[in-house]
Subunit: 507 residues, 2 copies
């Protein structure tokens, strides 16, 4: 067993990898490696996967939406059948609580997404057919080709490369997926790919519809996302890795959808604090420490009035952050990145009012941390002070007045979300109306009176936003059928004989 690696899934077969290295995942609760050795795939193995995916793409073009739907539903059912195994594995690999988080929240969300994608595939609404009989012109969306999915570390199911939102959206549009596991949870990804592959076989889709690699050297990753046979890539992860993949893919003319980083500004207005400051502090604490703060939409940047009510809010929040037990982080590298990010914030004028350090002990933990900076000081280093600290950390920016709040907002980079807490009776509506336009165009999703960590799978959701939160402000990674439109090509038929048109475009 010692030298054997966990098999990869290529061209419909689980087989030993022609690996160029191995790695092990950690159990972050114990700070120790888990036993299984996973292969790092070679360029040749990547090439094999892409060629098989290309064949699958050709087959899936003529596969019915009904059959795609059957696959997605069989996959969801398979996940439910093996939920115990999935929960044990994901807990070991991520340290996330078995319940409610993994079992009762994320797993049902994941199967729900797959079933919504099934409905979209069955109904074909994502194709948006247009018929112009007078001009004999017809158009609809068609699959874009093999989709590479690289998922993040923080959602082992819902954003998993082999089961999550990008996977579901890519498959719904009849594209095969090459899943590149997140190396923090390869075992969970393996289980999901197993279940997916069983469903592929059961339903009779092309055997290379779902393939799995665990890790590739970075140059092989660049070759993968820019491969001539690849249609597009969905990536969720760090800005550093994302920007390199973006450059490689775009140089080759390949669409790549990235969700990279976001500090998710929250503005708490004076009158809201006077009305319900303690309650808001509680919501803030709960949201910022949920999942040890490792959410893409964690409130990492809060604009607080530098007033008595504001300072009281800060003090209430500080007590809660100090009193809470920090959750286990997803991995050692995350803890290191947090230490680095907090150091950058401090170097640029932010002061820790609680926490600020990695915690001792075998488990990977970081203190619940609040940093504070004045609006004046923020405006001296606005870029550095938007460094994302991916964990239970938030920066409180103390604003002198509405004008300064607007100035702060004007310096904000693109974010996934932006939130405003205001008085429930509307007495600060005039101030809201001043602030809102400056926030609205910086974010994908605007919230009122509610922390941003809940991301409903709704057709009206936007889990996206202006660069550098994502690579394109017009697309969302969550929400069906909207998220499917990342993985399509527009096809027009001009004067094509009626009997040769795809069925959906016929009269």
């Amino acid at each position: 067993m010692s030298e054997k690696t966990v098999p990869v899934l290529i061209a419909g077969k689980w087989r030993e990898s022609k690996s160029v290295g191995t790695f092990q995942a950690d159990n972050p609760s114990l700070g120790q490696p888990l036993p299984d050795k996973y292969p790092v795939s070679s360029r040749e193995e990547m090439q094999e996967a892409v060629e098989a995916a290309s064949e699958a793409a050709t087959a899936l073009r003529t596969t019915s939406g009904e059959k795609i739907a059957e696959f997605l539903e069989a996959f969801a059912a398979g996940i439910e059948q093996r939920s115990h195994e999935l929960v044990e594995m994901a807990h070991a690999e991520t340290g996330l609580a078995k319940a409610p988080r993994l079992k009762d929240v994320e797993l049902p969300r994941t199967t729900g997404q797959l079933r919504q994608a099934a409905t979209a595939a069955r109904q074909g609404t994502w194709r948006r057919p247009i018929r112009d009989e007078a001009a004999k012109l017809y158009s609809f969306f068609a699959p874009i080709g093999p989709v590479v999915v690289m998922g993040p570390n923080n959602f082992p199911y819902a954003f998993n490369s082999a089961a999550g939102g990008d996977f579901a959206a890519a498959i719904a549009a009849h594209n095969p997926v090459i899943a590149k596991a997140n190396t923090a949870h390869p075992g969970t990804t393996k289980l999901l790919a197993e279940i997916a592959h069983e469903a592929v076989t059961k339903v009779g889709l092309h055997p290379a519809t779902v393939q799995l690699l665990y890790r590739v050297p970075s140059e092989v990753g660049f070759a993968l996302v820019s491969h001539p046979l690849v249609g597009a890539t969905g990536f969720t992860g760090s800005k550093n890795a994302g920007l390199k993949l973006k450059e490689a893919a775009e140089r080759a003319g390949k669409p790549i959808y990235l969700e990279m980083s976001s500090v998710n500004p929250v503005i708490v207005m004076e009158s809201a604090l006077r009305e319900r400051g303690d309650a808001i502090a509680g919501e803030f604490f709960a949201s910022c420490t949920l999942g040890a703060g490792q959410f893409c939409t964690s409130p990492g940047f809060v604009i607080v009035p530098d007033t008595e009510a504001g300072r009281k809010f800060v003090e209430t929040a500080r007590k809660q952050f100090e009193g809470g037990t920090p959750g286990v982080l997803l991995g050692k590298s995350g803890r290191e990145a947090l230490t680095d990010a907090v150091a950058i914030l401090q170097k640029n004028g932010a002061k820790a009012i609680c926490g600020g350090k990695a915690m001792p002990g075998p488990a990977y933990r970081f203190e619940n941390t609040l940093l504070q900076v004045s609006g004046d000081d923020f405006l001296k280093h606005p870029h550095e002070l938007q460094t994302e600290a991916f964990g239970p950390v938030s920066l409180l920016v103390m604003s002198r007045n509405t004008a300064q709040t607007v100035a702060i907002l004007e310096h904000l980079e693109g974010n996934l979300t932006g939130t405003v807490y205001s008085d429930t009776t509307g007495k600060d509506d005039a101030e809201y109306n001043v602030i809102e336009p400056h926030l609205r165009y910086k974010v994908g999703r605007l919230l009122n009176d509610k922390m941003p960590t809940g991301v409903a799978v709704s057709p009206a959701m936007n889990h996206g936003g202006p660069y550098p939160a994502t690579g394109h402000p017009g697309f969302t990674a969550v929400g069906i059928p909207t998220s499917i439109h990342r993985f399509v090509a527009l096809h027009s038929y001009d004067n094509v004989r009626p009997e040769r048109l795809p069925e959906m475009l016929r009269g």
Copy 2:
């Protein structure tokens, strides 16, 4: 007059440019420069334009769709009022025929596009509102921000930076436009920008809604498309320039939509030739020499069976190409590029069966040219033999059989269009069914029995296609409202109080 340059339009004022150089357009029919001197704008001038556009963008966000529509309609009416002047100027700058081409075809098409865009702006259908009452989530598309438009040389009105399809689509989504004129027709662009600006003033839009620069040094162009205050860019032109702009824009996370190059493969099947070979040769000749072959969708690559019927088709086409009088090209650089492209094709095995050379005389002309290569030889240099020759030039690839045709198609790069001519009674449907899937995914628009040069402005049109024809296969540059979706950002509202929602999203 000698030293004064034609004024630029910045921040609502026509003013002398702070230029870093000057240029003149040519009259291609005479091979001589036209008198007016146009400025090359400096980085500072570009910066001024972008800052003014950013202010206009803010204003346009709250401008009603009705008002945007009124502007587009007033602009269209203004174009019609000054059509005589526009036709004279465009003819002088492009050599295109005054009638029917400029006056009766392109000008009405341009005003028609503006009026369709007006309807889309008025109705707001491009916003695609989605309401999820249960989740209190609402979404729609919003303007992306200032749009830079860089138009091509071949359509002085319909793709003009200050009046064409990209302009109309950007404005319809409430975005200001910074037009960078094509340097082959700066006078036409000036006239159009004048008419546009009059309409801006009349309707009372923000004065920087339309701005005009004629030319910028290339590093200023890169700075423009990657400017933090710019929303997106629409570019139509050469692959060489397009790829450089693409890299600059994408590195800064700015969407750029490019239409770059396309040889527009046409497959004429044996049975179609037996049935109506002479007629098809006539259609081919007419389409390939229309506008001196300077259409993005000109049939530059024809797969012909290497049979008696195929050789007869070639001979018929050759006679027509030889007998036709070559049109005037749009410019001297275009003639040079044609000479270079034909040399590349010849160097890689194609043989000229007629034409092949630039023509003597003051007017810029190139001989009507047919090149020929065997399927076997094509497959030796498939990349080089897809070099676009932008003019009355086409490459005939003689295919041995259906299998070879498929092999040729498999080597094709992305194209705007792909066309199949087959027997009208359907007796070669089996062969069509073999060929079609290999062509379909290489092109944006698939045609039957019709040359690709007609591009109807229809919601079902796709004037786009896989890279390198464009930068993204999911978008079209022609067709309303579809083309508008290039210039939008997705906005979601989560738990936002009903009275604070945009009107369109309220219950």
